[in-house]
């Protein structure tokens, strides 16, 4: 037994080339067969095979003839949707939703973290945090159900104002509903990471600042903001990188036939045109276009983080 251990460490140091790799694999076969194989197989089957399926974007897909047997149409699908006015509207809806969502939604958790950090009693702070984190565990369906109930013509909001607006049918209200409910659900939970960063702010530094007579805003500027600045930047850059990947689930659950003018986004369009209407090739082309833009954004943003972080990226 003991000998094997020594042999192990020898092979770790010992030589290079194919032979030593084979020796290593033979000695550590369990790492390959038992540990990494399940994840590897799942990844190949459910992630890589569909990547090959994007070929459908360049053909008139025929289920009977399969991916390789269908007729090639080149970039026809791409040309068709890029020149269609509808597509521009969906693209703009997607971008507006994420850009405005970022504009309103990004500062909210930072503000919450600063406010939480100013609560002197730990007990009260923990109670407030429990309340703030709770909505994060509500499902999209229940969240949208709550939104629909509160905003219905006879719901709580209309009761409060004595009106009977039907918000869910108003295209102009969709973005506000989507973004506000997102902040309602997510801002508390998102503040966790800033709260953690703030707790790293040096206590000594803060005490020194207080003794020097710094007021709250000066303390924030001199002590607290420097403690979370890097976290804020990384989070911001990641959010910008994800600007094209607006989730399907919530937008779809808040859609009604009447608010489609602003609620139809690329992911819901891909679903409808593909699975509901059966235009497989066209839908795949739209999805691929979205993915490619997203990848470019993510890689660009990762490069920026790398530059800031002395060569260490997010991925």
């Amino acid at each position: 037994m003991k000998q094997e251990g020594i042999k192990n460490s020898n092979s770790k140091r010992g030589g290079n080339g194919l032979h030593s790799v084979l020796v290593y694999v033979r000695q550590h076969w369990q790492l390959y067969v038992l540990f990494i194989m399940p994840a590897f197989l799942l990844t190949i089957i459910f992630r890589y095979i569909p990547m090959g399926g994007v070929l459908i974007a360049f053909e008139e897909y025929n289920p009977i003839r399969g991916i390789l047997g269908s007729e090639w149409v080149g970039f026809e699908h791409f040309q068709r949707f890029l020149s269609s006015p509808d597509f521009m509207r969906y693209l703009l809806n997607t971008l507006k939703l994420s850009v405005f969502g970022l504009l309103w939604g990004f500062p909210a958790p930072i503000l919450l973290a600063f406010l939480l950090n100013r609560i002197l009693s730990t007990k009260i702070k923990q109670k407030i945090q429990l309340v703030l984190y709770m909505p994060n565990f509500i499902s999209v369906i229940v969240l949208c159900g709550i939104v629909r109930i509160l905003l219905s013509p006879t719901g709580m909001i209309n009761m409060l104002f004595g009106t009977s607006w039907n918000f869910m049918t108003m295209p102009s209200a969709f973005r506000t509903i989507y973004i506000a409910s997102g902040i309602w659900q997510g801002a508390g939970w998102a503040s966790i990471i800033y709260t953690a960063a703030l707790s790293n702010a040096s206590k000594d530094l803060k005490e020194a600042a207080v003794i020097d007579g710094a007021n709250i805003f000066q303390q924030i500027k001199a002590v607290e903001w420097p403690a979370i600045r890097d976290t804020v930047l990384v989070q911001f850059i990641m959010s910008v990188g994800n600007i094209m990947s607006v989730g399907f689930e919530k937008a779809y659950a808040l859609q009604t036939d009447l608010n489609l003018a602003s609620s139809e986004i690329i992911s819901t369009y891909v679903y409808k045109v593909g699975l509901l209407d059966g235009n497989y090739g066209f839908s795949t082309a739209v999805g691929l276009f979205n993915t490619v833009i997203n990848v470019i954004l993510l890689i660009a943003m990762n490069q920026i983080v790398k530059k800031m972080n002395d060569g260490k990226g997010m991925y």
């Binding site: 390959y32 990494i36 399926g53 100013r118 709770m134 565990f137 369906i141 109930i149 509160l150």
Partner: protein, 301 residues
């Protein structure tokens, strides 16, 4: 304690006091905004449907009724949904946690040959995917349409969770592994007997997020599962809450369309409450893992 806090506050300059009061007010309003809709829904779920529509919330208890709860709870589809959601979420959590923890181990070892290759294979999937239709066609070709595995397997290996677990393993002192090796433990023994027992916080965190994620999702179930008997809770909720289509039998005994509509509206309140009960029960358990969930929350939240 309280006295000390009070004096600390009193010592502050007046402009700081103003700032703090404004800050606390904002925080308080945010909490009220979170809690108020929940309280409203709880209370309204007991109000008679006609009264609720005409007058809104009332504290005239003669107008209160349990009818919505009776109707929702006596409907079998809700229970089918609960049962399926539990089965899918538990299966998904077990499978994904096992696969993820196993894969993270070789990836955490500095001597693992092929680490770069596997890393690349896994990382690419974080950026690029086949998209909706190619994935759907794959599931269909595998004969997994209308099978729970279509919902469970494709997402079972999460690269992000693997990275979290790997980072955690790397934080475990190397001495532990060396000691185990000297004692003659092989990889399996070291992993199961030595490493995993000291990693329970991260295991619980990953398990919690995977469970909540599966419990709350509806998209995959919507596109892959057609039979009513296989629908998870979220799909049943969707037809009641979003599509305004209560399960047959919940409202069909009502005479007029107006009555049916009012009742359907009230059923939504009760449905939200009933579907939230498991969450409320589990919330205190989740709470213990919030801190270790910081990293997970950063991306998922």
């Amino acid at each position: 304690m309280a006295k000390k806090k009070k004096s600390e506050f009193a010592k502050l300059p007046s402009e700081d006091k103003t700032a703090l009061i404004i800050g606390y007010t904002i925080l308080g309003l945010f909490c009220v905004a979170i809690v108020l809709p929940m309280i409203y829904i709880i209370l309204a779920s007991f109000v008679d449907p006609v009264t609720l529509q005409n007058q809104g919330l009332t504290f005239d208890f003669s107008k209160w009724t349990l009818t919505a709860y009776e109707r929702v709870l006596s409907n079998s589809q809700i229970w089918v949904g609960f049962r399926n959601a539990i089965i899918y979420s538990v299966l998904f959590t077990v499978i994904s946690v096992v696969v993820t923890l196993l894969a993270a181990y070789p990836m955490s070892r500095s001597d693992f040959k092929g680490k770069g290759f596997f890393n690349l294979i896994f990382m690419i999937t974080m950026f690029f995917g086949g998209g909706l239709i190619p994935t759907y066609l794959l599931i269909s070709n595998l004969g997994m349409l209308d099978s729970p595995w279509a919902v469970i397997l494709p997402g079972a290996f999460g690269v992000y969770n693997m990275i979290i677990a790997r980072t955690y393993y790397q934080g475990i002192p190397k001495d532990l592994q060396e000691a185990a090796e000297i004692d003659g433990a092989n990889e399996m023994v070291y992993f199961f007997r030595v490493l995993l027992p000291v990693c329970t916080p991260i295991i619980a965190t990953i398990a919690m997020w995977n469970f909540v994620g599966m419990w709350n999702s509806y998209f995959d179930a919507m596109i892959y599962l057609n039979s009513a008997s296989k629908q998870p809770l979220q799909l049943v909720l969707r037809s009641i809450l979003i599509q305004n289509q209560p399960e047959p039998g919940m409202v069909s005994d009502m005479q007029s369309t107006a009555q049916r509509a009012q009742l359907a509206e009230l059923l939504k309140y009760a449905t939200i409450i009933i579907s939230s009960i498991p969450l409320l029960i589990m919330y205190p358990f989740f709470q213990r893992y919030f801190d270790s969930g910081i990293m997970a929350g950063a991306v998922k939240g």
